[in-house]
Every structure is written in C-alpha cells, then in structure tokens.
C-alpha cells in the first residue's frame, strides 16, 4: 500500500512538470493552429541554458528562470513571424508545411546541441531545492515539489492573463476566429508572434525544472514533445483546464507503468493509451466550444 501511495504522489508531482511543458504549447496550438514538433527541444534548451549558466557563471538555476524566459521568449519572437507566414501562406497544404517547418527547427536545434555538448547527459544542480521530505513513510524530493508548484503558478498566471487582460481577450478572440478578431482591430500577426514567444519562453522555463529533476540529453527532447502532444490531445486541443488534468493523468500513468511494469515500457504504454484515446475520445476530455 505504501508503494501505491508513493507511486501516486510521485506521479502527481511528475505530472506537474508535464503540465508546465504542455501549457505553452496548448496556448500556441489554440491560437496559431500549428503543431510544433520542437516543444521538446525548447525544454532541452532551457535545461542546457541553466546548466551553462551554472557551470560557466555560477548562477543559481532558480535565478536563471526569468533570464531563460526572456532570452528564449526573444528567440521565439524572432521565429514566430516565419511560422505565421508559412501558416497563412497560399501553399497547397499550409498546416503541413508549418509542421515541416517546426520539424526543421527541431532537427537543427537537436543537431546543434549534439554537436556542441555531445551525448553525455547533463543535469541542473539546484542547490536551493536539494533534499527530501519524509511524510508518513513517503519520500518527496523537494525539487519535484518545486516543479509541481511552478506548474500551478504557471497555470494560474496563464488563466489570469487570458481572462483578465485585454491582451488575453485578444488572444482568446483569435483562438475562436482569426478573421473576426482581425476585423475587431486585433493585430493578428503581432499577437501570433507574441503567443509564440510566450510559448517558447514558458516551455524553456519549464525545461530548467525538468533539467533539475531528470538528467537531459538532446535525444530526450522527442520524448517531451510526445508527452506534450499526449497531454494536449487528451485535454482537447486548446483547453487550459484540460491540460492541468491530463498532465497529471500522464504523470500518474507514467509512474505506475515504471513501478509496476518497467521503465522500458513507458513510451509503448503511452502510445497505446494515446491510440485508445484517439479511438474513444477524438475530441479529448474537454470539448472545446468555439
């Protein structure tokens, strides 16, 4: 029974990380309607930025969070217009070409990281978050709690931003109908760029925490991309609350598969569940009303 509860808690805490990774993508997908294959690479980039900041300049990883957000937000702000251009182009299959474009981003980043840092796993040593809490026979690493709290804060901030600011209103309008939003005076191109920048910044920030919990190589980026897809598909594309729930579900699923079946089977199980969800609930948990 102890193992069961321990697994559940571990799963919930990991799930928080998955929520943090997927939140930005859910937003960007809802607004830009582009499936980004580079999600995992932004996560890995965030983790590597923290590692570099720590090893080269001795900066505490937690203090790197805003730096990472601003820096990668800027990178996203530079890339955003290209994605917007491809997505709204008059190519035969614009959605597909946009997907291929992000695939190019992913491959280029993965290659660049592999060429620079090699295949050796790196991990972020967060000194402030060392240690383990013991509560009633269950051990809880503080760093995972931090990831979980970060996810909750992120979700809250995102909800406040979307529902209580004028920018958020514009973004929600765009998610519903770009043309109408444009007619109402929303600068669709600028807002799309902003959303992409926000997504890249947030995801890289989540990457810092992922790097503190797990060791990271450029090769694992793919894994996080798949997990983010899983979460967003399960949530129903474009739903923030759905992301919260399904991220936690994924974490718990992974924890139980790891403990009771074996860590080698995680991806296979995730794929199988994803497959079943697509079969049974093609619209995800939360039906999007638009």
């Amino acid at each position: 029974m102890d193992i069961f509860i321990q697994t559940l808690v571990t799963g919930l805490l990991i799930g928080g990380l998955y929520v943090a990774i997927s939140m930005g993508f859910a937003l960007s997908f809802g607004v830009l309607d582009v499936v980004d294959l580079a999600i995992g690479m932004w996560v890995v980039l965030g983790a590597y930025a923290a590692v570099v900041g720590q090893q080269a300049f001795g900066i505490e990883p937690l203090l790197m969070l805003p730096v990472v957000f601003v820096f990668f937000g800027f990178v996203g702000w530079l890339i955003g217009p290209f994605i917007y251009r491809v997505r709204t182009s008059n190519y035969a299959l614009p959605a597909l070409m946009a997907l291929a474009f992000t695939f190019g981003i992913e491959t280029a980043i993965r290659g660049g990281l592999l060429a620079t840092f090699g295949y050796t796993p790196k991990s972020v040593q967060a000194d402030l978050l060392q240690g383990v809490w013991h509560v009633m026979g269950i051990s809880i690493p503080i760093v995972r709690v931090a990831g979980f709290v970060f996810a909750l804060v992120l979700a809250a901030a995102l909800l406040i931003f979307l529902y209580f600011t004028r920018l958020g209103l514009a973004i929600r309008a765009m998610a519903q109908n770009k043309d109408s939003a444009g007619l109402m005076g929303v600068n669709v191109k600028r807002m799309s760029t902003l959303v992409y920048a926000l997504y890249v910044g947030v995801t890289s920030m989540a990457g810092v925490l992922v790097g503190a919990v797990y060791s990271t190589t450029p090769q694992v980026g793919l894994r996080y991309t798949l997990f983010a897809f899983f979460v967003v598909v399960l949530a129903g594309m474009g739903s923030v609350m759905g992301v919260l729930v399904s991220g936690l579900i994924l974490g718990i699923l992974q924890a139980f598969v790891t403990v009771y079946v074996g860590a080698n089977y995680t991806l296979m199980t995730v794929f199988l569940v994803l497959f079943l969800i697509l079969l049974l609930l093609p619209n995800g948990l939360a039906r999007r009303t638009a």
Partner: protein, 350 residues
C-alpha cells in the same frame, strides 16, 4: 490548388524524353562500368528514392504527414534478418513479402482510427509509433535487443544494386499506375484536396486513406529488407533511427511534394550532398543542423521543391517555352506545360 505536376510519357517534351532514356540507361548499366564506390552511392540513391517515394504517397498524395515511417523500414529489416537466421534459414527473396505484409497490416491497424482525425493527430500518432517500435525492438528477445542481428554476408555489390533497382522501379511503376493512371489516384487526391467534397462524390474517404497508407508502408518494408541484407548487420540504431524519417521528409520537400519524380530528384541530390558532407566534415552531428536548416529554407523559399525549377514544370512557364520553342517549336500552343494531358488539365482546373 493542387500539387500534382506529373504528366504521362506522351506529355513529355523531346528534351525530357531523351533525358529520361539516358537516365534509364545509366541506371541499368551502372554496375558494368562504375567502380565499387559509385555502385554503393547508386544503391543508396535508389534506396532513398524508393523511401522518399513511399513517404510522398502518404504525404504528398494523401495529405497526411507520417513521422514514423522508419517503423516500416525497420519492420522490413527485422523480418528479413530474423527469418534469415540459421534456425529459420529462409531464402532472402521469400522474406521480403513477410515484412511487407506485417508492415501493411500494422499500417491498416494504426491508420484505421488515426486517419479519421485531423492531420496533426496522425503526425503525432505515427511519430509515437516509430518510437514505440524502436523500444519494442530493443526490449523483446527475438530481435537481439540493442546488440542487433547479423545476417549471412553477400559480397556482390551488383546483386544489391539490381535488387534495390528492381524494388524501387517496381514501386515507382505501381505508384505511377495507381496514383497517376487510375481512379484510385483521383480518389486519393480528391480526398486530400477536400475530404468533404470527395465524400459528396461518393468516395469512401476512410478506405481510400487507409489504402494509401498501406501502400506507403509496404514500400519501405521491402526496401528495409534489402537494406538489412546489404549492410549485413542491423540494430535499432541502424534501421529504426529517426534520422531515416528525417531524411525522407527532407528529400520529398526538397524534390517536390506530391510529384512522382520529386522524391527521386530530392533523394539523389540530398544523398549525394550528405556523402559530400561526411567526406568533408566527417560523420558529424552538424549534419542534422544542415538538414534542419535545409527544411526551413525549402519551406520558406521553394515550397514546390526542385521539381518546380525543371523545364516542364508549370511554375517556370517562361523557361519551358524558351526550351520548347528551340527544340520543338510548337510548345507555345499548349495551354500549360505541366498539365499536358486533357485528363490532368481537367483535374487541375478549379
């Protein structure tokens, strides 16, 4: 708004006909006059042309991006490798259909739910499938895990050249007949261009899409089997590596999405470039950066691929008219050089 630019043999200009004949003669006679290095390069280009073609079937013709195509390649490779182990000792050619059937069956099972949904889900699902198959091959006992399997060696490079050539040529023939010269091809393209309109015409869109996916899964399985025998040693890293899918995507985009000859052109150019790249810089991970930037550049500036630069493509009507005027003198009378046959022209008109 259609991607199709392929016309039939009769629709080709004189220059193109001569070029095609010269190319065919070079392809068939290469092992008799070229050195081992060039036979190797040739075998590689032919294999990649076939792989890119298979990816183009599901993406360019059916409009679904598959990011797990390496799974079918790996299934073919492992089927051949396992059945050629001493305890089974099958004939090499008998193993190829087995891989094709397994890959086709898997494509049908996976495609059935996923192809009903939007393209993005399909991309995700196939990507996960590729990873899952790789994990599967690493975990189960009969694949040799991450150590892999050895096959009985065959040192005749001409044998592999001709086997690969035969398989790819057959694949091209089948795809040409099915996609450019049959009702099936029109159905696939109709579903791609507008699924609702296609359904209105009484096309069973779900079935057409699954058929296209199965077709595009069988080709890499056969090529994967030949490749396994060619390289005589396989493991998950060598035949289930995502770089295979990466390269298929790049080759098709580079050559021209949804065209019959684009993949072959893209495969030849990129394979040659990659060989030059590794000769210049060694086998380095910078190659991934190069590929990634190439994809982005092609999407941004050359969305119709290299094919659109060739004479005969509609994009370069002026260039084509100059060449046609010099050679044939009657090209200007044709309304559009790319859509030469009446059937195609009717299909292309909005």
């Amino acid at each position: 708004m259609t991607l199709n630019q392929s016309a039939g043999w009769r629709g080709l200009g004189v220059v193109s006909k001569v070029a095609v004949i010269i190319l065919a003669v070079i392809c068939v006679s290469l092992p008799f006059w070229a050195g081992p290095y060039w036979i190797r390069i040739g075998t590689g280009i032919i294999m990649w042309a076939g792989l890119a073609l298979s990816w183009n079937v599901i993406c360019g013709y059916a409009g679904y991006i598959s990011f797990g195509h390496v799974a079918f390649f790996g299934i073919g490779a492992y089927s051949t490798a396992i059945l050629m182990q001493p305890e089974y000792n099958w004939n090499f050619f008998a193993t190829l259909p087995v891989g094709a059937v397994i890959a086709g069956g898997l494509a049908a099972i996976v495609g059935w739910p996923v192809l009903k949904l939007r393209g993005a889900y399909f991309a995700i699902g196939t990507w996960a499938l590729g990873e899952a198959i790789r994990e599967f091959a690493t975990v189960v006992p009969f694949t040799g895990g991450s150590y892999g399997l050895s096959l009985p060696p065959n040192t005749s490079s001409a044998f592999f050249y001709f086997t690969m050539l035969a398989a790819t040529a057959l694949a091209y023939l089948i795809c040409y007949v099915l996609l450019e010269r049959s009702r099936f091809g029109y159905r696939v393209k109709a579903v791609r261009d507008s699924e609702i309109a296609a359904r209105m015409q009484g096309i069973n869109a779900d079935r057409v899409k699954i058929q296209a996916f199965v077709l595009s899964a069988i080709i890499p399985a056969v090529l994967g089997g030949i490749n396994a025998y060619w390289i005589t040693f396989i493991n998950p890293d060598s035949v289930l590596n995502t770089i295979f899918t990466d390269q298929m995507v790049v080759m098709v985009l580079l050559g021209g999405l949804g065209t019959l000859w684009g993949p072959a052109l893209g495969a030849a150019v990129l394979y040659f470039l990659s060989q030059q790249f590794s000769a210049l810089f060694g086998s380095s991970t910078w190659y991934l950066v190069f590929i990634g930037i190439l994809v982005m550049a092609v999407v941004l500036v050359l969305p119709n691929g290299l094919v659109s630069l060739l004479p005969g493509a509609r994009k370069r009507g002026v260039l084509n008219q100059v060449i046609g005027g010099v050679v044939g003198g009657i090209h200007q009378t044709k309304p559009s050089a790319g859509a030469a046959t009446p059937k195609e022209a009717r299909h292309d008109s909005p």
